[in-house]
Amino acid sequence: MKRVRGRVLDVYAILAIGYMLLPIAVVFLFSFNDPAGRFNYVWQSFTFDNWVNWDAVPGLRDALETSLVIAVLASLTATALGTLIALALVRHQFRGRAPINFLIFLPMAAPEIVLGASLLTLFLNQTLLDLGFWTIFIAHVMFCISFVVVTVRARLVDFDRHLEEAAADLGATGLETFRLVTLPLLWPAILAGGLLAFAISVDDFVITYFNSGSEITFPVFVWGQAARGVPPQVNVIGSAIFLIAVGIMLVSVIVQTRRRKESSA
């Protein structure tokens, strides 16, 4: 009986994972389609053209470049700011911890549309900055900080303080200790936070859409095409993003597993 129930669960899990991957399979499949009209809904014939000429659609390349530049700048900034906050929260005792934790949690819990709308009212009520590249950058840093803090903090908890004390005992200055001991040990945590921030930034549509003015990021571009029929080149970019993300995640899983084996051996 127990074994039967276990089998049922196995079958369910396979079907469930299949369901979650189904839209991705469709995106991938239709990236090889040669659509008859504007709408890429019905399978016509197989072609590599969309992959070879991925930037044949006017505006696509610019939008993608804008997205990548913003994601690099925003994730670097958010990673720096978020890592410092995480360090303060894990390594120092101070009053006011609860409100700060709450303030970090809120942007992750608030509906995106409210974040986007409230930032828009801020930008509309000032004259220093027009809506565009920099307002998108500011918005992305804002919602990425919390995710960086949470990611880095989770990995900082089992950081061994004795190593820093040992460095200081051996005559290292504060800066030397930070550069030679603290930073190398923190590196994996910072990298994880930065990659998450990058992924969230590239993917964001709602908050960007409210604060982009006439600037076009990749998701805003896709939104603009959605009404007119999305060209298969968008599927190419979507598939490429998927393959890169899975690649990075699998590599990190393998590295972690191997490191755990080494340390236990």
Binding site: L9, D10, Y12, A13, I17, M20, L21, P23, I24, V26, V27, F30, Y41, V42, A80, L81, L84, I85, A88, H92, F94, L103, I104, A109, A110, E112, I113, V114, L115, A117, S118, L120, T121, L122, N125, I138, A139, V141, M142, I145, V149, T173, G174, F205, V206, Y209, F218, P219, V222, W223, A226, V234, G238, S239, I241, A245, V246, M249, V253, Q256
Partner: protein, 283 residues
């Protein structure tokens, strides 16, 4: 000895200030501006701050239909997401063995493909010329001119799918943290597997279920992309109204008031839910 070593109490604030300043200026202050805007009257571009509380009354009365629909959709999508995610998270936590992390990657990876592209993929799957509609029509579950696109079913299905990681991950984490010896102890004491699950595993995983509910419900209630891409005019949610008032109709005070109404209802519903879950765990 550096400056921060001599003044240790200053060190956390030196680390906190840059990031927290960013969050205050670009997250807290904008909420103030949104509140300010929501109490203005007049026509674009000459709004005036007049404590116009009627904006809120109108936001509620003019958009009752979309508000009710949003929370209705969000509620159904959350229940579906929990029902879908719990067994899957359980399977990954307890039965996937050494492949656990690989399955976790497989489950999270689809969500690194741009939200809009994922939703457009559902458009393709559910389209009138697609296989799904074809099969349903042949079997008779759908009339010969029946559609899936532009129906409530499509919108709820889209919302459910798009927020699945927010349900799976918290449940997985809480299941993963359970001390397996507790379950073994229950079984040693002759609890049937079903009883051991209901009395040990399920209660211990409730914090994850709570987090999953909140993290799925909030973005679902504020969503407008699924209603826009998978629904028709009769599926408009409150997010669609806010979005068009801000970006198409340029009616900022009304849109701002509506944003606060949305947030207030979410906060109240979560408070009630937290109360119910909390009292159940105590009692």
């Amino acid at each position: 000895m550096t400056f921060f070593h001599r003044h240790r109490w200053l060190a956390p604030w030196g680390l906190l200030t840059p990031g927290m300043t960013w969050l205050v200026i670009f997250f807290v202050v904008p909420l103030g501006f949104l509140a300010y805007q929501s109490l203005q009257s007049g026509i674009f571009p000459s709004y005036e701050f007049t404590w116009e509380f009627s904006n809120y009354r109108e936001a509620l009365s003019d958009n009752r239909e979309q508000l009710v629909r949003s929370f209705w959709y969000a509620g159904i999508a959350t229940v579906l997401a929990l029902a879908f995610s719990y067994p899957l998270a359980y399977w990954i936590a307890f039965r996937a063995g050494k492949w656990k992390n690989v399955f976790l990657v497989l489950v999270v990876a689809p969500f690194f493909v741009t939200y809009l592209i994922r939703t457009i993929a559902w458009q393709t799957i559910l389209s009138d010329d697609g296989t799904v509609v074809g099969v349903l029509r042949t079997v008779g579950l759908l009339a010969d001119d029946g559609r899936l696109l532009a129906t409530s079913t499509a919108v709820v299905a889209g919302i459910t799918y798009n927020y699945l990681p927010f349900a799976i991950l918290p449940i997985y984490v809480s299941l993963e943290q359970i001390d397996r010896r507790l379950v073994e102890a229950a079984e040693d004491l002759y609890a049937s597997p079903r009883r051991a699950f209901l009395r040990v595993t399920l209660p211990l995983s409730l914090p994850g279920v709570f987090a999953a509910t909140v993290l799925t419900f909030i973005p679902s209630a504020g969503d407008f992309i699924n209603a826009e891409l998978l629904g028709g005019p009769n599926q408009a949610m409150i997010g669609n109204v806010i979005q068009s008032k801000f970006l198409a109709l340029i009616d900022y005070p009304s849109a701002a008031a509506l944003s606060f109404v949305l947030m207030a209802i979410i906060v109240v519903m979560i408070a009630i839910y937290a109360r119910i879950v909390g009292s159940e765990r105590l009692g």
